[in-house]
Amino acid sequence: MENKQPVIQIKNLCKSYRRGSQIIPVLENINLEIAQCEFLALMGPSGSGKSTLLNLIAGIDKADSGIINVAGTDINSLSETELAGWRAGHVGFIFQFYNLIPVLTAYENVELPLLLTGLSRKQRRAHVETALKIVNLSDRMDHYPGQLSGGQQQRVAIARAIVTDPAIVVADEPTGDLDRVSAEEVLELMERLVNELCKTIIMVTHDPRAAKKAHVIRHLDKGVLNATPQAYF
């Protein structure tokens, strides 16, 4: 793998949760660099803090200490409102259960993030149509999530994640709820996002088959980040 400029730099990151008077450390002193156009898979046992780390990188949770520098911004020092604006511009989200709004059509779901931009209706339409074309669902844009298969819903979610053209896409077990064929389609799509659109993708997964698609695999165990043991494959 050639060396590229890191777009994400994490230094001495710590995160713990409080349960009553008890403090539960989840992430301890994490250091990580992710290059531009890199596809990184984050693995590890359940409860190891994968989702927590992903949320911190994506700016939907706050670290206790440490630095998360994404494309030149230390996001841990931003306020809630600043973070919301930052997320809208820089990060696309893909969730295990797709999390589409069930009363909105595929088109409207994909359009949602664009409502926060200053784009005109016509410009929004162009963006949404492009995004749906990339995920190969142009013919389903008037369908509601309930009328789509799991794989199709996840592809709509991917379209929603990329419609604002963010530099980074985070995905928390994007294939966790899909059958093998649909999972394969989704993974191929994510590979294309990296290769053709130069997105940086961080994907949490339990599935070694999914992880294989990534350029880099990192392993979280009990809050500590390890290089992938070769024996894993």
Binding site: T81, F95, Q96
Partner: protein, 385 residues
Amino acid sequence: MQLLKLIFKNAFRHRLRTFLTITGISIAILAFGLLRTVVNAWYAGVEASAANRLVSRNAISLVFPLPLSYKEKIRQIEGVTNVSYGNWFGGVYIDEKNFFANFAVEPKSYLELYPEFILPQDQKAILLRDRKGFAAGRKLVEKYKWKLGDTVVLKGTIFPGTWDFVLRGVYKGRDKSIDETQFFFHWDYLNESLKKSFPMRADQVGFYLIGIKNPNVAADVSEAVDRTFKNSLAETLTETEKAFQMSFISMSEAIVVAIQLVSFVVIIIIMAVMANTMAMSARERIAEYAVLKTLGFGGTYITALIFGESLFISSAGCIIGIILTFPAAKIFGDAMSQFFPIFNVSWNTVYLDVAASVVVGGASAIIPAYRAVSIRIAEGLRRIG
């Protein structure tokens, strides 16, 4: 635009739940409106009273009469423009249940003092000429299907005997607040018969109606009237027509207060129902709100979604409730016309309906909106499946 669309779609996600909630609110608004209208009907006499009319009665009690001879003395008091007088007759038409107000009055001055009773000139002329003639309000005449020239017989209660009268005039109210169910006839007719049968009770009147120059002299004239008859056999108590009408209501004030209370309890109950609906909906959508926040939508947007939905449902119920209130009040008013001669839904009631629904919709959204906005995104996203 998109926000409104989403609010609307959210509101109809659980059709049955939304339908039941809207139905509940409509019924509550209907009940509230009817109860307020009952309260208004109670005060209708007070509302319709004029500021330039005084009522003078026996100071001991309304059931004791005043001598007819007071009339001339009252007329001479400074500020008095007109004097009429009469008796509560209390006659029964066929059966006790056919209750309506009937008075023996001096009709010429009475009609002068009540310009809000509109009687055609020709009818008025005939009425004044016919001693046995009577005039009645339009609603009363319609209810019993009387026609001009019909003879109507009342059974006396306070004044024993059967009394027959001829319908000579049908008056209309100047506006909707005027009682169109009164029945009044010549005081002279009553007095002539009393002279024959109960001479002791003749030349006595139950009340004087006093017209005054303007409302400002009401206090002075009242005082002057009462002073004139101080230390006589029948002392007077003179007050404005409004105060006089009020004195009837104060006897039943507790009931009115109870009705008012119930009307607000209805609103509080429906607020609990509405709050429950919104709490359920918002709880189910916590993950969706978290997704919206993840995408960068702020608390204001989430708050607008939840308040919008709540207010949409409560206003839908309110509109249906208000629309139903009018026919319901008509039916209720017709059925109860002997107790509530005036039974109109006032604008004030409609405004209160609207205010109540805004309060219900707004209050129900506060806690769900607070929860949805304050929950951490990571926490909200976990609530899936």
